[in-house]
Symmetry: C2
Subunit: 226 residues, 2 copies
Amino acid sequence: MELYKIHPQHYVAVDCVILGYQDEEIKLLLYPRSFEPYKGNWSLLGGFVQDNESADEAAARILKQTTGLEQIFLEQVASFSEPNRDPEARVISLAYYALIRIDLHDEEKVKENGAYWIPIRKLPNLIFDHQEMLGKALVKLQQRAGYSLCGSELLPEMFTLIQLRKLYEAIFQHEFDPGNFRKKILSLGVLEKLSEKDVSESRKGAFYYKVKANIGDMDVNRIAKF
Amino acid sequence: MELYKIHPQHYVAVDCVILGYQDEEIKLLLYPRSFEPYKGNWSLLGGFVQDNESADEAAARILKQTTGLEQIFLEQVASFSEPNRDPEARVISLAYYALIRIDLHDEEKVKENGAYWIPIRKLPNLIFDHQEMLGKALVKLQQRAGYSLCGSELLPEMFTLIQLRKLYEAIFQHEFDPGNFRKKILSLGVLEKLSEKDVSESRKGAFYYKVKANIGDMDVNRIAKF
DNA sequence: TCAAAAGTGTTCTCCATACACCCATGG
DNA sequence: CCATGGGTGTATGGAGAACACTTTTGA
């Protein structure tokens, strides 16, 4: 301990890139910062790492405080540690990204925080280096979507293959051939066809699917290559 | 600032997974920890983030202190923040990995630190969560090697395609077909054939290659898929 | 019966793999 | 002239891209 004492200590924060999917768009949870500096400017949801918790736990805590959700996919993005990134004080921030189902989140909690779901393609300016955090989180999302089906995290329990394709098109900003996408996904063998159909989009109706139980983090096969 | 003051501050360290390649093996720079706790146990090379530097800068500083090398490939691996990961005090550690050419490093400096190059397949136990840091660094190395030629970082200026293949075999722990590997690499168009040959391994001799100048971080083509 | 979306099938091309074969050289 | 690696060529299979085609249904 004596040896450690000659070194400085720092505030350590976590900032969460909370992503959801709605209306064929990827959306990000943001709120207008409630205190100086940059009060009123758009910010990711964040907080400080306390003494009794890991950064992972701090991120989960913030996610629960702001969306009411627990047991959510949550992963480190990167650390941000430029000495002057926060003009008020030295704060080292650990960025996380979370994938949540917008249909499940607690709207009350979001309102309390004055937070909003904002499509990532129509983003306002963000404070500090939050834009960069988002950028790296989106890269991670693409990587993850490339070898694992993100359907279960961002879509409702049941979804059609068309909905899944639209999600992937939103993630990769790229159109996929409907037939090929369908074959590729089904060939993975991780989806279970249900008897029910979604008839809201067409007369014929599209069958719902759900992710098979006991599919861990899946196989090594890539879903999309970019 | 007032608002920040209610939050705790923490020691923030960086730990470097310094990787090199020698004798057809990936090696890791380790030293026996020189102070308590766990004095004498094997440890990554690390240090504390100071007030005037980012974590990236701290990692570069440590790399220079221990190997004499600058301008080296250095990238974040992950953060480690379990409250009790260091029994002496709460230390949040940011792990980095570096790829260096063992033939260029400063042996004097390494000796000063009592450090050694240890093949990663014959590793002793490491302190704290350093084993996990190495594990994640090796995954990152494979990912990087998958879409970029790590040759320039881990091999000497000039190298034969056989040497490059052996390097990749060490990284992926997997044998590659000599002919196919050769074709794949050459098809990328990033290597320049030299007139000189390495005659130490065979009568015929193998041509040296070097990475073409002004090749940035290369193309998107994957070199190996795993 | 027709429009519109859902879903299937077919072809072509590219690329990774496996492996046979040729080349250069010193002893 | 032959053993030894270095280096090239070829056949095959599987996966992705493009796109034509069939199915289902309500109006």
